[in-house]
Symmetry: D3
């Protein structure tokens, strides 16, 4: 099985650079089953990180390009490497293979582990967006709260200790005040911090690492021969008759 | 009051061309109050028309550019001229003035006129997207159905009679089978067809023309001194400290 | 366009008297578009003010009488001047023209401006009633809370400063504790206090003045050629065959 | 125990007259437990029957008067004898003793007997009203449908056979098409037709007679020492300090 | 009428013994109408008390046995004497007569007395289970909270004063913080403490005693000729053709 | 990783016998990853198959016994091999390791693949039970329908061709009439029929095989270091202080 993990922004051009990209690939490959080959790609132009809905939308065309390339190279599925699942419905319309969103995978998992879950994410600016995602995923009924540590994504990548401390603090509030029984880390950068196990130990509830879970979820789907529904995410009418994605955009 | 109506695609480069753009402006100005000045703009590069979520996302960056330009020219509000309200939350994050989405305005109106409403739209490919919009607008409870006439947008612009015939047919089904008491035309091109009054006469229920209603709704909001909530659509953290929208995108 | 604003009680017989009635008319006419003529009427017998569901019901027959008179005098729409929208469904059944309820208009507007709204109203005794209204309007999903300042309506009319102070205090709680992004003033007397703009400045979120917004909303509907659905609010069977409203009541 | 059943209209002045009033009292007394005394009253002025929300509102002041009189005469509870529970929240505000609404009692019972229920009522004109009642009663989740036989109330009282035939026909549709497992007769006149047992036999599901069930429900509540919550239905502020209900209405 | 109250565990073998069983029977008979004969039975093998879902499941086979015996002895209905309504749907499948669950009866009653209710129960370990019951009963919409006094069932039976004190304390929180207007005692042992009236006096809201209310509810249903829907709780296919319940279990 | 698949009934004593048990084990081992060891067990006494809620409850004590044995033998997780997830919450309370329910796993997966799903199951008698499961799993919002082929479980095991034919027929109705975009096979015996791929080909939507997906889901959870929440499924209070599960049951 061959999976692509797409970072939906030009991380390679940011201060954390290719080093961080490669660190993430190593993590992913380490989590993968023996029979899985993981590749990673970044989007050539796009948002440095995603902390708003507007940045989500900016990331979509570049991600689509990478998905189509990955498919042509024989990948079985791609993972959109941002917890906002930016543009997931649109990306699924234009793809021919499974596209996995980490929030969807994490929430679909969380609801099977407890009656109530919360998400702990980066900044207040994306709380409404994540609540919308819970509805889109169909699990809004069990979402107790989305809480933010209010530390920007780039800061998380640089200051791990502070991030971990704040995550445990907000996670505790989600459990005590909001009655969460399961927590989800609401940001992919959090997923590469090795913080979930530490939080589970401190807090006594399952903590879902979206980076790892979306990979394992993708493996489970591919090996179950499952893809997203083409009836639920229809090919854009203008792409029928073998038109290409480029034909949707008039320059 | 000065309002901009943005067509979120390069309609001027399509077969219907500037003539259709200007026809729409004339309609809008005709609907407006005496004290309102309406301007129209098209996005320079983008989707020819919007019949999928992917095309919605493609339209966002161009629309944002036009909104910011309109604000700098003293507009009080802009209307995103596609019934999918493409990227509305993101556009509201980056704008300083009111941004109106036609679906939001139409649905917010429909719920005050009856207990149950339906939307009649273009193609099956956007039904899921419009259901999501009803949830985002907060009125999902009253949405009975979204029905499609399955005629592409460009076809509607060319074959008015067929469009009207199909709209009446699907509208009737929405009333008889889905118990709709109010109908919404789910496409801005439908809004410029002069079909709503005809449908009301034939079907005996209110039929909301989103093109007209979003204009009147924008006028009502501006004259009530109301804008969208900056607490609900927060400025992207990276735009604080007077950073510009261009700073969100790394080329 | 000719609009009637009906005060659903004999305010002219209370201590605030015709002076307050006329002050409200002046406000309304001031808010109206140039092409709109506003008239005002009070119900001859009824509740002094409305702070309970029972008083709502008491107001309905008198309001119906005024609506029918207004229609016979050529009004295009009437606004029921109480935020409880008292008897709105019944009034719409017996009317031939648009009847607007301020809560419906305000809530239909609020949901288009943010993801979550709260209402700040007069007394605890009508909180359940307003929650029911949010459901009837179809927007219960977005209602975060109804909070009361617990100052009776007549007191609000006499002690503006205290009312404003309490409104800001409860509004702040709605934002901080209940996560409201938009506020609605849940009482028409509050709407004539000129408090909304002050609250917006202090609190940083849109504050909907129901008195003003219901007027602008009515103008928008009438100029869009929209009325409430006669399929949703059916003529009482006993009024078919040109029977009159009086025939519904056996003395 | 002493219970009053109030017919919220001047049935004694209609063509069915006191004979029907007395027939209903006999039925009620026959259904009651040995220790229960049932009285009946009609409202002196009001709607002949109730087939619209407007007629519901017309019935409220007269019903309130009868409730207060019944309380002064030592009744333990009153039943509002219309399935629309007209003005129930308002009536509960002004009463000192339990007030039972038949729809509430029937729906509260229905949900304990099956997972899905439907109501079969008189005319299409009150379907929206009954759906609202299901929400107010808190059981909207299990309501599958409200179906109407479209026979006016007075006709039901005169043409029993036709009513029974139509009830079985619509009841069958509710079971087969809407998946109802329990049916409720949505009109008090239906409750005095002796039709429920016949329908149960024909249709094989529980059929709730609201006239009988609201009586038995009232008995169960009174003997359990339960009344409606005065915190949920607060005394109108103007009635504090021993003010009377008459003080709410300015003539 | 003949009703059986089944204690779904071998209480007679616990420290409170047959004395408590008989005390409960006396209470029940005291609450019953003159025409009702109440019998009581305990399950021969099963959980000592029920404070978890697992213990609920353990109680089901024994309860089923008692139900079938009671039916053969001419009982009109049985009450499952645990507030968790353990196995209610399954028990209804295999029974030929009405089976009443106390939580269902109490919740079906609570929603008719106020707009919002809470349950005060024994231990945190069954809160999720009771929330599920509210959904099954169809009244989840009005459930404000389930609060636990965290005193085990056997302790409640021994230390009445402490139980009452804790119930009043948690009940007050449910009213003040969760806005409950009606309370339900969420445990049958609480129902035999004579605490409901005391709580009503202290707290000013209706407090439902499930032990008493399920009895009165059963009486009301039987005298209304109502049973649970055999369409909603179908006979297990393997029991068709007069197969017996024993045939479902292979030893 | 070591996983146990428990058949919650004595299949080895039925007509399909150990041969079918072993066939299922071979299937499961074939689906598993290279690093996974699968074991299978049957419950010694219990229901022959599960087609009712009552049979679900009968299966719980035996399943619990097998789970505890499996844990003592070093299994990392167990799968309850019935699509009703019988007793899942109770089983999770008494277990120390992950317990997976196939319905939960299948539904948690389905919601990530499309906006709307349906379940096709064996008999009408368990439709209500499966709807409850969708709510417990938190995904009720996306459940379009549960449809039954009305072929008993034992028949499915014997007459594969008929089962497949009926599954395709009902699946098609779920897609066409109920708008399902994803289907789930609602019975574990269906999962061992090799029918999912055939249905996908015929119907053009993802079809979830619960037998395979629950295995892959369990693998994904175990390799992600995730278990069900012990805060959501609390240890029964009587099992604290190292009491054993046997102590919950008084013989």
């Amino acid at each position: 099985m061959k999976l692509q993990y797409i970072i939906p922004g030009p991380m390679h051009k940011t201060s954390v650079g290719m080093e961080e990209v490669n660190r993430r690939l190593a993590k992913l490959q380490g989590w993968a089953s023996a029979e899985t080959e993981v590749t990673i790609s970044t989007v050539s132009s796009g948002p440095a990180s995603i902390e708003s809905m507007y940045e989500e939308y900016l990331s979509v065309p570049g991600t689509a390009k990478n998905i189509i390339k990955a498919e042509s190279e024989g990948h079985d599925a791609t993972i959109v490497g941002c917890f906002g699942d930016p543009g997931l419905d649109g990306l699924r319309e234009v793809s021919d293979k499974l596209v996995v969103g980490p929030a969807g995978a994490s929430m679909g998992t969380a609801v099977t582990l407890g009656q109530k879950f919360s998400v702990v994410t980066v900044t207040d600016s994306i709380i409404n967006g994540l609540e919308k995602l819970a509805w889109e995923t169909g699990v809004y009924q069990k979402l107790q709260s989305v809480r933010a540590i209010n530390l920007p994504v780039m800061e998380i990548n640089k200051n791990h200790d502070l991030a971990v401390e704040l995550l445990i603090k907000e996670g505790k509030k989600a459990i005590d005040k909001d009655k969460a029984e399961v927590l989800i880390l609401g940001c992919m950068s959090m997923g590469f911090l090795d913080v979930a196990d530490k939080m589970m130990e401190e807090l006594g509830v399952p903590v879902i690492n979206p980076s790892k879970v979306s990979l394992k979820f993708a493996e489970a789907l591919v090996s179950s021969n499952l893809e997203h529904s083409k009836k639920g995410y229809m090919k854009p009418p203008k792409m029928e008759n073998n038109k290409r994605i480029e034909d949707l955009f008039i320059k």
